[in-house]
Symmetry: C2
Subunit: 348 residues, 2 copies
């Protein structure tokens, strides 16, 4: 049994919990967890907002740690390696999606890092708010040694969620890219788009976020409540990355797109307000979705982060402070990602 | 002055009207109108549904006729040619959209065939419910001589509106293409997708449309109200062409798309019901709009129709019956397009 933190019901605080990890299969890697990022979806799952939570919930899918043991057939990792685990720990590896390196869309259903049926032990999977984890090497990522491991943890979800659409829609030097919403996802969107040499515009309702947006790499800030500013930027964006985590009106943002340009939603897994057909019929515009990223592109993202020295802006906490952190997360009171120092678990 | 039919106010029936056409400029073509299709947008404009109508409204943008005179510099047409005019009669010819052969998105504003500011005579443009029209040759289309001219008229709007997205999204042999909605647009969508050798599925709420859908070229019919059928086709479509002309729920249709596949809206220029973000985030799906087509692709569509013998299914009427036709159009009581025999105007 290993130490962890879990929620035992939708109204329960996270509290110490003990869980079992499986014995190593030949292709498994055992990882001692150093750091685990706190994703907004952890909060959704703990509170059963998506009505699919299974208790106890041990959240955490932004895991960075050290390999401590490997199965006999493991080829790519050895003890001591700095590695990461994101949202996925398994998939069928055979369907069209898996063959296209998009395991998140596995046609037989990917195994998520927590709250997903556990093929090995039965029950459901437990995430990274724990001492260690055992993962098939196909789902283990290599974390560059030159970036701070605690600040790399959020790359495993917030990072790849914003990287994937920017990469898939081939954002390049000089493209005018708008990042809508400045939170855990948005701040990574700014950093990546900036590192890709795009012209980055932070689009936010809050004028007080301007200074920080520019520090993160935005070339300009567009206040979406200011109709004159919105009109000035109308029809001028090559790409919009929409990170707003709740339902909202897409029409004003669609108006910002150039002809044939795309806005990608990564945040709002809930109903949006009524889209006007004319908002996309005029200008042959596109609205698309994107969900985290496959293992191959997660590794590409991490390698890019090593080369360009991109990490998340984080606030490091002890696991004992996780419930307070959730309260602050709900008020968007974090710049920009809580990361748990898992060493703190030892004193639980 | 030439004879025409016009609505003088939003609550007025269409009635005989006389209008002036401009004298030929050097690049102009004069066309005697043989046939004019009746588009649903004619009805919207006559009734001021879009709040931008200018009266009197002379509708009609599905025009087929014979060239009777040409300006001194006209290069591509001569008297006697069978030609067409669609939704566009002018654009700046200089902006990015015009240079990309997408004059419908002219950045300075295209001149629409009716109800658009008239650069030459002042006032606004008058459409094809009239004896003749004068149009710059850049906006005149060549109609293949081997297809029935009356059945070719609706190609100029309903045709290119459905052709353009099927062509732009590169529908090819074997693609599973769903055409949503069987009306003036949908019936052309079936014919084109079938001629492109796609596997065509007609998606409709009405089981009684099945037989006709198959006659038009559909390989199968999917009744969208039947949840079992919808589930069976889930995640299986390479492309969806959504011709529904009113606001509706996109979510059940988005569920039909394969990963990375696109649904294009061409009908609903009005607010849609709430889209769930998850409907496109799961599967990285895309929803796009498309508006008629540029002049180049309209000609490509007409040439394709000549080669593949594709025309619209029409009901030929006299102009004196136009108000009755509008009443039937509003009840979707037409298979699938009214076309006015403009010879009837002579007896008005």
């Amino acid at each position: 049994m290993i130490k962890a933190y879990a929620a035992k019901a939708s109204d329960a605080d996270l509290a110490p919990f003990e869980l079992e990890r499986r014995a190593l299969k030949p292709t498994d890697v055992k990882i001692d967890i150093l750091f685990c990022g706190v994703c907004h979806s952890d909060l959704h799952q703990v509170r059963n907002d998506w009505k699919n939570s299974k208790y106890p919930v041990v959240p955490g899918h932004e895991i960075v740690g050290k390999v401590t043991a490997i199965g006999d057939d493991v080829k790519n990792f050895k003890a001591g390696d700095l590695v990461g685990v994101g949202c996925l720990v398994d998939s069928c590896q055979e369907c069209g999606a898996c063959k296209d390196d998009l395991e998140q869309f596995c046609e037989k259903g990917a195994t998520w890092t927590y709250n997903s049926p556990d093929k090995h032990l039965g029950g459901h999977t437990f995430g990274g708010y724990s001492e260690s984890v055992v993962v098939d090497e196909e789902f283990v990522l290599r974390v560059p040694e030159n970036i701070a491991p605690e600040a790399a943890a959020p790359l495993l979800c917030a990072g790849v969620t914003t990287w994937s659409p920017l990469s898939h829609w081939k954002i390049k030097k000089g493209d005018k890219v708008g990042i809508i919403g400045l939170g855990g996802l948005g701040h990574m969107g700014i950093k990546f788009a900036h590192a890709m040499e795009a012209e980055v515009v932070m689009i936010t309702t809050s004028p007080d976020k301007s200074k920080d947006a520019k520090r993160l790499g935005a070339d300009a800030v567009l206040i979406s409540k200011d109709e004159d500013q919105m009109k000035k930027h109308q029809g001028s964006f090559d790409f919009l990355l929409n990170t707003i985590p709740v339902g909202h009106d897409l029409n004003p943002y669609a108006a910002l797109l150039k002809r044939d340009a795309t806005m990608v939603l990564v945040g709002a897994v809930e109903p949006l307000e009524a889209l006007h057909g004319g908002s996309i019929i005029m200008g042959r515009k596109r609205i698309a979705g994107s969900l985290i990223g496959g293992i191959k592109e997660t590794q590409e993202m991490l390698d890019f982060c090593g080369e360009h020295n991109v990490v998340s802006d984080i606030e490091l906490i002890n696991i004992q402070d996780i419930n307070k952190a959730y309260d602050r997360l709900q008020k968007s009171d974090v710049k920009y990602r809580f990361v748990i120092d898992m060493q703190s678990l030892k004193s639980s």
